[in-house]
Amino acid sequence: MEQRQQIEELVYRSCLALDDRDFKAFLELCDPGFRYKVTAYSPEIRKELVWLDHDRKGMETLFTNLPRHNSDHAPLTRHATVYTVKVDGGQAEVVSALQVFRTALDGGATELFAVARLVDTIKLDGGTPKLAARLVRMGTRQLGFGSHIPF
């Protein structure tokens, strides 16, 4: 498979895994040194915000703890489009546009939940590409009653 296609498929598989709440499958796409971060810029306080910042172990714990919490059960659907892929040696930086939709369980109405940009660092030197880092750069900052599930 062409490298670009492999990279794109990794991004899309990560979205599918999270859509399915198959967190084990998501983590299998990640490098042991994986880092996940959600950030946003607040024009209200004119500051950069960090909403989540976890290493791989932190993500595992987050996923493990999820069933113990009360969460909204409406499914989220991620729609990513890979915009740019920049390969540099053994890794690639991939920028994707992301829209997240929420579908109500009762009636099935779908609404746009959030827009964001994904900046993924992908390791290419181990045979199968792996996510080394994901930065979710939020455009949307008003999430209603919010979510426990990362993007």
């Binding site: 915000l49 910042d53 714990t61 426990h148």
Partner: protein, 406 residues
């Protein structure tokens, strides 16, 4: 035992009228409009923090709970003032961006310009159009009272005849004042808009019985020593505080000791102060969180969340506070989503025509953490200011309280 319609519609038995409210206080448009005028217009409301307008000419926009758009701006003299964000010419918005720095505040529509003291300093082609009938002196902005205090917040009051902020707060913040001696800085802001009544959010901040919704709080708090000793204290004007305990963060898998702490606060300490009619100070171990509820309708509220650290934080200390904050209170945090989901559920169940009738505030546990005295105290003040008993807001003739509100 399930109820018939008559039993459902009857007030909760065996409680005095101080211990429940009629659900219509959360749904009626008439009550909502009255609350804006009677509760919010004459109350001191947090608009922003001093760190959001740190420099001369810094401004911050704030939509007051009555709906009035405001500009909070720091002048060249470093004094913070507040004005309507409404051009006195054709009623346009003067400043559009939620924050910025503006030596002159100029309306984009016809280029009328204002200084940070509210004076109109420029009317484009004034003499040609108004001759000697109208000039800059006639075109000042509407100024709103603002006081800085209680941790460096900018409090605004639309009532020109209001009393002082100190009188409004009274002793309610005494429990927190020792921990707010150092300058603080906002590091987090976000706004949640939820289909629910603003009071239901404030209620959630005013009772800890709902810790059952929070796995995190059950594990780190409810199941730990000292939890049931936390006490509510009620203060004049509808304010209340909650005493501290030592949160056992290590009981939650993946959580860690919050080493950065807060000056003077016992490790794991946690104080809360609920301020009438919809603000909460929440100092938890390493972070101060401030909630400001801005009602948008009977069943819609915007809640502004702020997270604050110390101005002197090193980057490492700040990063720890941000992490601590977001683990629980961030938009993807463990507790915030649960709280918002819960009040969203109340909004669903109580919106107009659902036939929700009563909300019970009946727990009495010697004012300790699962006692609902905080809400009873709020609704006693609500009833007094509204001139409507919360148990009979449509004045249908229910009996007077059998005993005073707790």
């Amino acid at each position: 035992m399930a109820k018939t319609a008559a039993e459902w519609n009857a007030p909760p038995p065996k409680f005095p009228v101080t211990h429940y409210v009629d659900s219509r206080i959360y749904t009626e448009q008439e009550i909502f409009e009255e609350e804006r005028e009677k509760l919010f217009r004459p109350s001191w409301i947090i608009a922003c923090h001093e760190s959001e307008v740190a420099n001369a000419f810094d401004y911050r926009l704030f939509t007051h709970p009555t709906g009035v758009p405001l500009i909070v701006v720091r002048g060249e003299d470093m004094k913070v003032r507040c004005f309507y964000n409404i051009c006195p010419h054709r009623g346009n918005t003067i400043l559009y961006d939620p924050a910025g720095n503006a030596k002159r505040m100029t309306c984009i529509f016809h280029a009328w310009s204002f200084d940070t003291q509210g004076n109109c300093v420029e009317i484009s082609r004034a003499e040609q159009g108004y001759q000697d009938r109208f000039c800059t002196k006639d075109a000042g902005l509407r100024e709103v009272k603002v006081e800085m205090g209680f941790g460096g917040f900018a409090w605004v009051n639309l009532d020109d005849a209001c009393g002082s902020l100190a009188d409004y707060i009274g002793p309610a913040m005494d429990v927190l004042q020792p921990y707010m001696q150092e300058p603080m800085e906002v590091f987090h802001f976000n706004r949640a808009i939820v289909d629910t009544n603003y009071k239901l959010w404030h209620d959630t901040n005013s009772e800890f019985y709902h810790d059952f919704v929070h796995y995190f709080n059950r594990i780190t708090g409810m199941m730990q020593p000292g939890y049931f000793e936390r006490k509510y204290t009620a203060f004049p004007n509808g304010h209340a505080s909650v005493g501290s305990m030592s949160i056992q963060y290590d009981k939650y898998a993946g959580s860690k000791e919050r080493a950065v702490g807060w000056p003077g606060l016992t490790p794991g300490g946690w104080y809360m102060v609920d301020l009438f009619p919809g603000m909460t100070y929440n100092l938890r171990t390493s972070v101060l969180r401030i909630d400001t509820a801005i009602p948008l309708g009977p069943n819609k509220v915007a809640i502004e969340f702020r997270g604050l650290g110390l101005k002197r934080d090193t980057p490492e200390q700040r990063a720890e506070r941000v992490f601590d904050h977001n683990t629980i209170w961030g938009p993807f945090g463990r507790n915030l989503h649960e709280d918002l989901l819960a009040v969203h559920g109340q909004g669903r169940a109580m919106r107009e025509n659902t036939d929700s009738r009563w909300v019970i505030h009946g727990r009495e546990e010697n004012s300790t953490i699962h006692d609902e005295v905080g809400m009873r105290h709020f609704y006693a003040e609500w009833s007094r200011r509204m001139g409507r008993p919360s148990y009979d807001p449509m004045r249908e003739g229910r009996p007077e309280p059998a005993r005073a509100a707790a």
